[in-house]
Amino acid sequence: MAEPLLTLAGVHTHIGQYHILQGVDLVLPRGGMTVLLGRNGAGKTTTLRTVMGLWKPSRGTVTFDGRPIGGVPTPDIAQAGIAYVPETMAVFSDLTVAENMILAARSGPIDTARLDWIFSLFPALKKFWQFPAGVLSGGQKQMLAIARAIAEPRTLLLIDEPTKGIAPAIIEAMITAFAELKRETTILLVEQNFRFAASLGDHVAVMDDGRIVHRGAMADLARDEALQQRLLGLSLDTHQ
């Protein structure tokens, strides 16, 4: 079997005195999309932030592309090829859409073909290109946050709950976009919307109380309603 792209082995993360991740084991194969599911407060965001170096793991190892990245500064992790779309989107609202994209493309101007491709995925960005990102709607900000992550090709995308509070029409656009994206890169997606997750995910991991409690193929979980019920309970249904 090919070497996995990302491996978390026995990762513990403390936030202040709180012990949030309590031995996370996660393996991401190269290519495709892995969905990370779990109820509120399970530790999904903390897992992504730990991979990104925004929290330092207190124990365990994080390996990306054969390189240990636990405790490495965030900018180095980004430069190693990981892009991050946080739960809060974190678009720079004082900067224009164009300026947000300029900063996202570290190695120079975005080439026209790629920009056209991004506009084809998210047409609103073209329309608002010279507008401050602060005037965008929530869904448009989410598109910008994702577009920023793909301004240049990256090896791994970490995307945290992109559908949260987003209108259904935009979610449809996102499904199309992610289906295309996962052909060029590997995606780790945190999601609570199971229908969305099941329609896109190749692999699935379920978290609870700071640990991974299930790992497998998404197709198997999608088929097995009893397993869904046991792992995900009712909490996910409320997000449909």
Binding site: P75, Q79, L95, M101, P109
Partner: protein, 340 residues
């Protein structure tokens, strides 16, 4: 810098971008309000010009500090040290160039000033860099310790000034051609004030240019909003911060030279008086906002000058009242900076 090509806009209606011009009207309103109280228009013009000059000096000093806070939430109470060191460095250079200073030739005078300012800015810039590395870096994210240790740094700097330049008050003479006033109609305007206003506008324009038209500037603005996301995009915010800190210190050095020339005397505590106003300015302006800092500086200086003339006893209190009034209107300052 290169910008990705702007695509053709679609014919659909786009929302109007709301520009917030209201704060810009405040200095105009304040000066208009002061006119009937001052009474004599000539006095009023003199006071207003003095306020603009003072405002520009405060702005030059405050602009770096507001970015330092905006970028890394660092409270630097030692900023006054750079004001003093800049002024003393210039004093030494002007002392060496006394021939150029005393001759009645604007060219030679400006040359001497230019050299003095360069030395002051390079010196305070380097000092700022060292100050950041040694004093500020160990206390990132710890506000109480920042206040204590940067105040400690200020005290050490003042003592070092005593050691190097002596503890007595120094005279800081204006170069000959910059003394006195020019008459415009019936109004006499001091030459140095014109120079101070010009320098302030140049610094402001340069900052706007850098912040809006360069990649570094975009990173600074983005970092003020959300430093963590700038890091997640792959940029070292700390390296950026050290640079901003050093440039901010150099600007404080420039402001110190101007302030000392304005008062024509100099002690190691020169930074102290002006720093009270500087802190009021960055709070009024909105922490992290250069535009707000510019308007805030003019407002504070106007308030100081008008009340010094009308009600000298309440000059400082008037500025604290101004701050309270503005914060009641806009609790985050004139131009609030969006924070994560």
């Amino acid at each position: 810098m290169t910008v990705a090509p702007a695509p053709a806009t679609t014919p659909e209606a786009l929302p109007a971008i709301k520009h917030d011009y209201l704060p810009i009207l405040l200095p105009v309103a304040l000066s208009a309000l002061a006119l009937p109280f001052v009474g004599n228009p000539i006095t009023w013009v003199t006071l207003t010009v003095a306020a603009l000059a003072m405002g520009m000096m405060i702005f030059v000093i405050a602009s770096g500090l507001t970015l330092v806070f905006g970028l890394m939430d660092v409270l630097n109470f030692g900023h006054g040290a750079f004001i003093a060191v800049g002024a003393y460095l210039a004093l030494s250079v002007l002392g060496l160039l006394s021939g150029w200073v005393q001759v009645d030739s604007l060219g030679w005078n400006l040359m001497a000033l230019g050299l003095a300012v360069s030395v002051a800015m390079i010196g305070t810039g380097l000092l700022g860099w060292a100050f950041e590395r040694v004093i500020v870096k160990p206390v990132y994210g710890q506000h109480l310790k920042q206040i204590l240790i940067t105040m400690g740094g200020l005290i050490v700097a003042e003592q070092l000034i005593h050691v190097i330049w002596g503890g007595d008050q120094k005279a800081m003479a204006l170069p000959t051609a910059l003394r006195g006033a020019v008459l415009i109609g019936d109004v006499a305007i001091e030459k140095f004030r014109i120079l101070a206003v010009a320098v302030g506008f140049v610094v402001f324009a340069a900052m706007l240019l850098v912040l809006n038209r360069t990649r570094i500037g975009l990173l600074i603005r983005a970092g003020v909003e959300n430093a963590e996301m700038v890091e997640a995009l792959g940029y070292r915010i700390r390296r950026l911060f050290v640079g901003v800190f050093a440039v901010g210190s150099a600007l404080a050095g420039l402001g110190g030279v101007m302030w000392a020339l304005y008062r024509e005397t100099l002690t190691a505590a020169i930074g102290g008086d002006v720093m009270v106003l500087v802190f009021i300015v960055i709070i009024i302006g909105g922490l992290g906002s250069v535009g707000g800092c510019f308007i805030g500086a003019i407002l504070v200086a106007m308030m100081a000058n008008y009340t010094a003339f009308l009600l000298p006893k309440v000059a400082l209190a008037s500025n604290i009242l101004l701050m309270v009034a503005i914060l009641m209107w806009r609790p985050q300052g004139l131009y609030p900076v969006a924070k994560r």
